[in-house]
């Protein structure tokens, strides 16, 4: 009793002191407090509690668009099933479906369903983040958010451009942001914001040690820059891959040098040799081999990135196509220590569970019938449904734009082409493609082995590309061994933002580039195999009337100069092939 009385007295004394103290709070502190409150009010609605339909365990996420796309960690969605339940701070529970996954980078894209006016966050510039910057982390640590109001923790940036080793071969954190804000089990997948409420990262890892699986003041967020680069691919529904290059680098006396360059690689053909200096990669300069690892680690496979290198002749610029790192066909299993550990959350939940709203753990409700069609299982995909939707949209648009006259099985196309110096004819028929130029004629017979090596070097694969285009314009899947939507990216050398459709025809792989608002491609890059440069064609200003269709200009990208050489097209003749 005495002890209780003493406790009350101490508490009262404390409260009195505290309120007396509150009166003395300087204006600047009050202002900062108000600023924090406003920031948190602004960002909290975009924060998601991600749970398996069963309700056991869970993590966090953040909405990035009004139609419900949200980001989380792969290690959160991996154990949560294809359909999940997501809670927002409006107290409501929404159905959600998996869209795309990036196991290497530990990122997953999901889509919340049932609204087209979801609140979403505003991305910031994670490259501009500095050590010492104030940050707030929002999420669902220990699954405390019974009514889905996210927990907020405050801290500063402890380090930037950090590297965290992968667990096995994936879940690798490169170029990440280290914070001292408290990050605990359940925070995974949740957003990190700067103090003005701009989204700068996804909290996914922490250094746990002798103190157990609780925060020790060192946690790591995937940079929003990396997330945004991958979102463009994740929305394709694929299992998205990270990248590798066909060369390695090492730091030598503060200089980053190529240590080995594959002789079959693109950089080798551009003249890169071991011992040359790598000056910049993907637009960022380097001072160590670690820098290279950090830069490469945030880039998705398949994109083409600029590279600057130096040898005895001076500085050179080129672009490099990034190759796939893993080529996962199935979502990989999480390593044991990264698997959801229900004990972490559940046991700590138990004493508080009674009476808390929204957290009763009932058996998972079945997937509502209205959403069932939103998931399709297929090798290489997290959810093939989304890929089909994008393909349908792009291919249907293309089919409508191409006059049927052009795509009849037996027609041939002959473009009248001209450069400043001379004129000629570019033709493609079901059986062959040819270029007639300054009296000479080069042709390519697909009946023979279809390879760029069959056509003269100076044409840069134009003829092979035209044959592929003829096939592609018929918009008939049967003509290719595989077609799929790859995602969005910026293409070299123009930097245009495009949607990418990939077709595979035996050994020939084409990437078709579409710009928003244009049903016709602005170009294609064509690969035939190792050891050969890509044929990179660009199309400009498509002319269309009732029966014909042709680009006013056809460009060929010169790999050495990384520039596009254009020829004007003045007409197209469509008809039966000459016998």
């Amino acid at each position: 009793m005495t002890s209780l009385r003493r406790r009350i007295l101490v508490l009262m004394a404390f409260l009195l002191t505290a309120s007396a103290f509150a009166a003395d709070v300087p204006e600047t502190v009050k202002e900062r407090e108000q600023r924090r409150i406003k920031t948190i009010e602004k960002i909290a609605p975009s924060v998601v509690c991600v749970m398996p339909a069963s309700g056991a365990g869970g993590g966090s996420g953040v909405l990035i668009s009004a139609d419900g796309y949200a980001i989380s960690n792969y290690h959160v969605t991996s154990g949560s099933g294809d359909f999940m339940k997501c809670g927002l701070n409006d107290g409501k529970l929404y159905d959600a479906v998996i869209v795309g996954i990036d196991p290497t980078g530990d990122v997953a894209l999901i889509k919340l369903l049932g609204r087209d006016d979801f609140p979403f966050c505003e991305p910031g510039d994670s490259d501009a983040v500095r050590m010492g910057d104030e940050v707030v982390a929002l999420g669902n640590p220990f699954l405390l958010a019974g009514d889905f109001t996210p927990t907020v923790t405050y801290g500063i940036v402890s380090g930037v451009r950090r590297y965290q080793y992968p667990a096995g071969t994936f879940l690798e954190y490169t170029d990440c942001i280290q914070v001292d804000a408290s990050i605990n089990p359940g925070n995974s997948g949740g957003p990190l914001f700067d103090i003005d409420g701009r989204w700068i990262g996804i909290n996914g890892r922490a250094s746990f040690e002798k103190r157990g699986r609780i925060n020790t003041g060192a946690a790591y967020a995937i940079s929003v820059r990396q997330v945004l680069l991958f979102v463009e691919h994740l929305r394709s529904g694929r299992i998205v891959d990270h990248a590798r290059t066909e060369f390695t680098v090492e730091t030598n006396d503060g200089v980053v040098e190529f240590s080995s360059v594959s002789q079959l690689s693109e950089p080798y053909r551009r003249g890169v040799r071991s011992g040359d200096e790598l000056v910049s990669f993907a637009g960022r300069s380097l001072t160590s081999a670690n820098d290279f690892k950090n830069i490469l680690g945030i880039l998705p496979e398949g994109t083409r990135v600029p590279m600057t290198w130096r040898n005895d002749d001076g500085i050179h610029r080129t672009t490099v196509r990034l190759l796939p790192l893993h080529g996962f066909e199935e979502a990989p299993e999480l390593p044991g220590d990264r698997q959801p550990q229900p004990g972490d959350e559940d046991e700590q939940d138990k004493p508080q569970r009674p009476g808390r709203p929204g957290m009763q753990r009932k058996p998972p409700p079945p997937v509502p019938a209205q959403w069932k069609h939103l998931f399709k299982k297929q090798k290489g995909y997290a959810n093939a449904y989304f890929n089909e939707q994008h393909m349908k949209r792009l291919v249907e648009r293309l089919r409508e734009a191409v006059p049927s006259e052009l795509t009849k099985a037996d027609t041939q196309w002959v473009f009248a082409v001209a450069t400043e110096k001379s004129t000629g004819e570019l033709g493609v028929s079901p059986k062959a493609a040819w270029l007639q130029w300054e009296g000479g004629r080069s042709s390519l017979q697909p009946a023979a082995e279809v390879a760029q090596s069959n056509e003269p070097d100076e044409f840069g694969g134009v003829l092979t590309a035209l044959l592929q285009m003829r096939k592609f314009f018929r918009a008939d899947d049967e003509l290719f061994s595989e077609t799929f939507f790859h995602g969005d990216e910026h293409i070299a050398p123009s930097g245009a933002h495009v949607e990418v459709v990939v077709t595979k025809d035996d050994l020939i792989k084409c990437r078709w580039y579409f710009m928003e608002g244009n049903p016709l491609p602005i170009g294609l890059d064509l690969q035939t195999g190792a050891g050969e440069d890509e044929a990179r064609l660009r199309f400009d200003a498509w002319k269309t009337d009732s029966s014909v269709l042709y680009p006013s200009r056809i460009g060929v990208v010169d790999a050495d100069r990384e520039e596009t050489d254009w020829m004007d097209v003045s007409s197209i003749r469509v008809g039966a092939p000459a016998k």
Partner: protein, 342 residues
């Protein structure tokens, strides 16, 4: 200590003011971090058992003297220091002080070199509730040629510390800074603590547990406590350890030994009175461990017990609920008994 707790809670209210007051007059936190992080080096050496192979150090002179904690890293040699710009240097141990848990190292440079440093002689002081920044090589996160990590916190209180790890007793007797953030992680020992304006105030100590609570302690030794020792070492003299190590040990009182464990030993009349058990309280932990009158305790866990003082010291380091093995000589044969600390 109670007074300290109340102040700690109060200080949390002041968190924001601590780090960011007077923005117009003081540089921003990122600017302060940028200027201070380069005075902290990452140390890499040999780990021992569970002990880490990495640590931190503070550059305290332009020519590359470094202050750090005198721990296994320093003792085991082969120590390398990496500066914030990624340069690697071998280090030479200049001197140490046991009672400050301090070692002074020199970065071994082929040619004279100028390093960014902090002036340990004009350090600041923290008051309870002041904001602070802690710089360290925690978890060796900063693996590349990148600066160490920085954390923010608030001074909880300044107090003498009764803490240690196992039988090792934290030797600094004067008050240390207790910090409200988890700053003493693996590899953080030897890191720099500054006030919210970047003025150096302390050095992060090694990982230790508090003797009363068994909790890991987050603390730093004030630079003004270290300053005389650093000066002594740099003047080429030895820091005198005027208190023999023996007296630093915490001994369990005879009363507690009986009340808690149920053991009564012979009175310590000799310098090394053998640890014979004189009496066992029926129903006590000692009785449950089947210890008997006349047993001579030879070992507690792996520690050799040569006297009743040794026994009282060894039992003082163990916590409630722990199982301790006691090796005793009974009738000229050895027996191992398991004692559960009540």
């Amino acid at each position: 200590m109670k007074n300290c707790t109340i102040k700690t809670v109060l200080s949390a209210v002041m968190l924001a003011s601590g780090l960011t007051a007077d923005e117009n007059k003081t540089p921003s936190v990122p600017d302060i971090v940028e200027s201070r992080q380069e005075t902290v080096v990452k140390l890499f050496g040999a780990g021992v058992g569970n002990l880490d192979s990495y640590g931190s150090g503070i550059i305290i002179s332009e020519d590359g003297l470094v202050a750090t904690v005198w721990n296994h890293l320093v003792n085991n040699g082969f120590l390398t220091a990496v500066t914030a710009d990624g340069q690697r240097h071998e280090v030479i141990v200049v001197g140490t002080s046991l009672k400050h848990d301090l070692a002074i190292l020199r970065l071994d440079t082929a040619e004279p070199q100028k390093f960014p440093f902090i002036d340990y002689k004009s350090s600041g002081a923290l008051k309870t509730g002041d904001g602070l920044l802690a710089f360290s090589n925690e978890y060796h996160v900063a693996t590349g040629n990148e600066p160490v990590s920085v954390m923010h916190g608030v001074l909880a209180c300044e107090t003498p510390l009764d803490a240690g790890l196992g039988r090792w007793q934290f030797p600094v007797k004067s008050p240390v800074y207790l910090i409200d953030a988890i700053v003493n992680n693996s590899g953080a020992a030897g890191g720099l603590v500054t006030d919210s304006r970047g003025v150096p105030v302390g050095m992060l100590g090694r990982e230790i547990r508090h003797r009363d609570t068994n909790m890991w302690v987050n603390y730093a030794v004030p630079l003004r406590t270290l300053e005389p020792a650093i000066s002594t070492i740099l003047s080429g003299q030895r820091v005198r350890d005027d208190e023999p190590e023996e007296e630093d040990r915490v001994l369990l009182s005879d009363r507690k030994l009986t009340a808690v464990f149920g053991i009564t030993v012979l009175p310590a009349i000799l310098k090394k009175t053998p640890a014979y058990i004189d009496r066992i309280v029926p129903g006590s932990a000692a009785a449950a461990a089947e210890l008997q009158r006349g047993d001579l305790v030879l070992m507690v866990e792996d520690d050799v017990i040569q006297s009743v003082e040794d026994l009282r010291a060894a039992l003082a380091t163990h916590r409630k609920g722990q199982s301790i093995s006691l090796t005793v000589n009974r009738n000229d044969s050895l027996a191992v008994k398991t004692l559960v600390v009540p």
